[in-house]
């Protein structure tokens, strides 16, 4: 678990060192994994870059583990974003051997496109596609994985609901195909640049196998004009059986910034004034 301790230390250092480069207009963003597994239908702004890093530590009677997730994403085109995520893990070996296994679980690329903004009568809708590579080490995913997801976000006053529904194509070695279903809610705390988020998220195998169901509660805090911290608690509801308990803690930081060299600024000509 020394690796996990180092990861936590590195995350805290990153959070402290991040500088307020750009306004974080949406501390409320329900970004995937930050800190819940259901996401909203709103992509990064055009030319916006966001770096996210987080840890998800599990404490279960069957064995402890910790996941580290780093993601870089950008609003590459209007109303659309692309991102690259690396997910690593270190956890107790559940086969009964007294050892720790670790590795890169997967490297995942995604594209998300927002189809429409929310209006008075209909929710904001987005579609997302993911491609995950095989991993490396003892925890690595065996084969490529492809996923498609539909996302809807709808607000009722200050309360905002998000629904996700997706399908992931995976090999038998990785547990086969499964459906993703999730429902989340977020709520801003006054004008204090903090939000509370909660969700129920399920992965339902298409063939035989037990569904995996998470219940999560989290918060996002804007700590400067460019940085947001998130904290969360999660539990695998399907593993609360035979007296076994489990709890996961998530912690992460998101920073937004831009690259002036990648932005086209037209030359200034005095526009019409009268």
């Amino acid at each position: 678990m020394k690796f996990a301790t180092n990861l936590i230390a590195a995350t805290l250092a990153l959070a402290g060192a991040a500088s307020p480069l750009m306004a974080q207009e949406d501390f409320r963003a329900a970004d995937l994994d930050r800190p819940i597994l259901v996401e909203d239908a709103f992509p990064a702004k055009l030319h916006e870059w966001e770096l996210e890093f987080g840890l998800r530590g599990g404490f279960a009677e069957g064995g402890d583990g910790i996941d580290a997730i780093g993601e870089l994403k950008t609003g590459l085109f209007l109303n659309g974003q692309v991102g690259l995520e690396v997910q690593g893990s270190v956890r107790d070996d559940e086969t009964g051997l007294d050892r720790t296994i670790r590795g890169v679980e997967t490297v995942r690329a995604h594209v998300l496109y927002n189809l429409n903004r929310e209006t008075w009568s209909r929710p904001a809708l987005a579609i997302r596609a993911d491609l995950g590579t095989p991993g490396a080490g003892g925890v690595g995913q065996e084969n490529w994985r492809v996923g498609f997801k539909g996302i809807a976000s709808r607000s009722f006053g200050l309360v905002r609901l998000h629904a996700n529904a997706g399908y992931v194509v995976g090999s038998a070695a990785d547990g086969g195909d499964f459906w993703q279903l999730g429902l989340a809610v977020d709520y801003p705390v006054g004008l204090f640049s903090k939000a509370i988020l909660a969700d129920i998220y399920a992965e339902i195998p298409v063939d035989a196998g037990r569904s995996r169901v998470w219940a999560e509660l989290g918060t996002r805090w804007q700590i400067s004009n460019g940085n947001v911290l998130d904290f969360g608690l999660a539990t695998r509801l399907d593993e609360w059986e035979a007296g076994r308990a489990n709890l996961e803690v998530t912690f992460g930081v998101s920073s937004i910034f831009g690259f002036s060299g990648l932005v086209n600024v037209p030359s200034y000509r005095e526009p019409k004034l009268n």
Binding site: Q24, K45, L46, N79, G258, V263, E270
Partner: protein, 360 residues
């Protein structure tokens, strides 16, 4: 056989998912999107917030007042006198103790944002230009303020969906844009007074930041905040102040920005009036706000007919609002409202201006 069936089943599911996505996409192709664009990345970003944090935060109460008023008028009706009185109390609380970071419009006015997202987005985009010009004037590492400011304006104007016009419309749209003109200020003079006081404040801060020396700048800024809280907020302007009236040096340096900010402020007033007009249904308000936004955008400025200011008892012209954009012999422009700009006659101001014609 089983494998074949499984493959077929998977393909069917995939085909259904793709067809569903295609239908969804087709249904939304003509839908309105958020079209959000990130600010111009620059080294000076947030220099104003980091250097004069209290001054930067003082504007957040203004944003709260604007968007909060829209939300109340939408959710509690046009004659929400009690709600507005409570709201005014909260506004004064935020004047004293503003939020730490700028609250987005969707947090303050979640329902109104669904009605007029594009207008809220244009306002936020223009607030971004406000911030960047404050940053440029604050940051002593930026030696050539003119070039940096013009670059920020050029980037702002490159977003045609959200950039306000650079023409000096003065008060033309808010007075002559529709029969709703003046409804809000007559119904809610106290809230309106706070908003016009903040328009003064925005411009006065620019003028303070024009001081070349950092120490003078801070002293001048402190003075502006003192005058704002002790005097302007308690005795607000009687007409919507124009940027160049309050900030002539800043407006001479960036005349296009002065007009952009006046048009933003005018659009804020236009939305107030439309939202407070009980003769307009919710969908009519939505359509009217969008019509006015499209009229006042940079993209439309060569093709719209601009209304004249109607004669009437409800409008009081300040001397500044009668001064029209004026080109000096050297080619430099003095914007609308500048103390040295030409004073137009009432006949000129009352006359509508056909599309493609220059304002007098």
């Amino acid at each position: 056989m089983i494998i074949k069936y499984a493959k077929r089943s998977r393909m069917r599911r995939g085909a259904v998912a793709c067809a569903g996505a295609a239908l969804l996409f087709a249904g939304c192709v003509s839908a309105r999107q958020r079209n959000d664009v990130f600010r111009l990345p620059a080294s000076y970003n947030f220099a104003f917030y980091d250097t004069y944090t209290d001054a930067a935060r003082s504007f957040y109460a203004a944003h709260y007042t604007h968007f909060g008023a829209y939300e109340i008028l939408l959710t509690q009706g046009e004659d929400a006198t009690d709600a507005m009185a409570t709201f005014l109390g909260r506004v004064h609380d935020y004047v004293v103790s503003p939020p730490k970071f700028e609250p987005p419009a969707e947090i303050i006015a979640p329902n109104w944002s669904k009605l007029a997202y594009e207008t809220g987005s244009a306002m936020d985009w223009t607030h971004m230009l406000h911030s960047q010009l404050y940053d440029i004037l604050t940051d002593d590492r930026i030696a050539d303020k003119q070039t940096a400011g013009n670059q920020a304006i050029a980037y702002y104007l490159s977003n045609p969906r959200s950039a306000f016009s650079t023409r000096g419309y003065g008060h033309r749209w808010m007075e002559g844009g529709g029969k709703w003109a003046g409804v809000f200020r007559r119904k809610y003079p106290e809230i309106n007074g706070v908003l016009w006081a903040y328009h003064w404040h925005h411009a006065a801060v620019y003028e303070a930041l024009m001081e070349p020396d950092a120490e003078q700048r801070r002293a001048s800024l402190d003075h502006v905040i003192e005058v704002f809280t002790d005097s302007v907020l308690k005795n607000p302007p009687k007409v919507m102040p124009l940027t160049a009236e309050i900030a002539p040096r800043f407006s001479s340096l960036f005349p296009a920005a002065a007009h952009i900010f006046d048009n933003l402020h005018m659009m804020h007033d236009v939305v107030n009036d439309i939202m407070a007009d009980p003769s307009l249904s919710r969908s009519a308000k939505e359509a009217e706000i969008e019509r006015m936004r499209l009229n006042m955008m940079f993209a439309a400025q060569d093709s719209v007919s601009v209304p004249g200011i109607p004669a009437g008892e409800h409008h009081t012209m300040s001397p500044g609002s009668m001064r029209v954009p004026t080109q000096l012999p050297g080619g430099q422009w003095l914007p609308q409202g500048h103390p040295e700009a030409r004073m137009a006659s009432m006949e000129e101001l009352r006359a509508p201006v056909p599309a493609g014609r220059s304002l007098p």
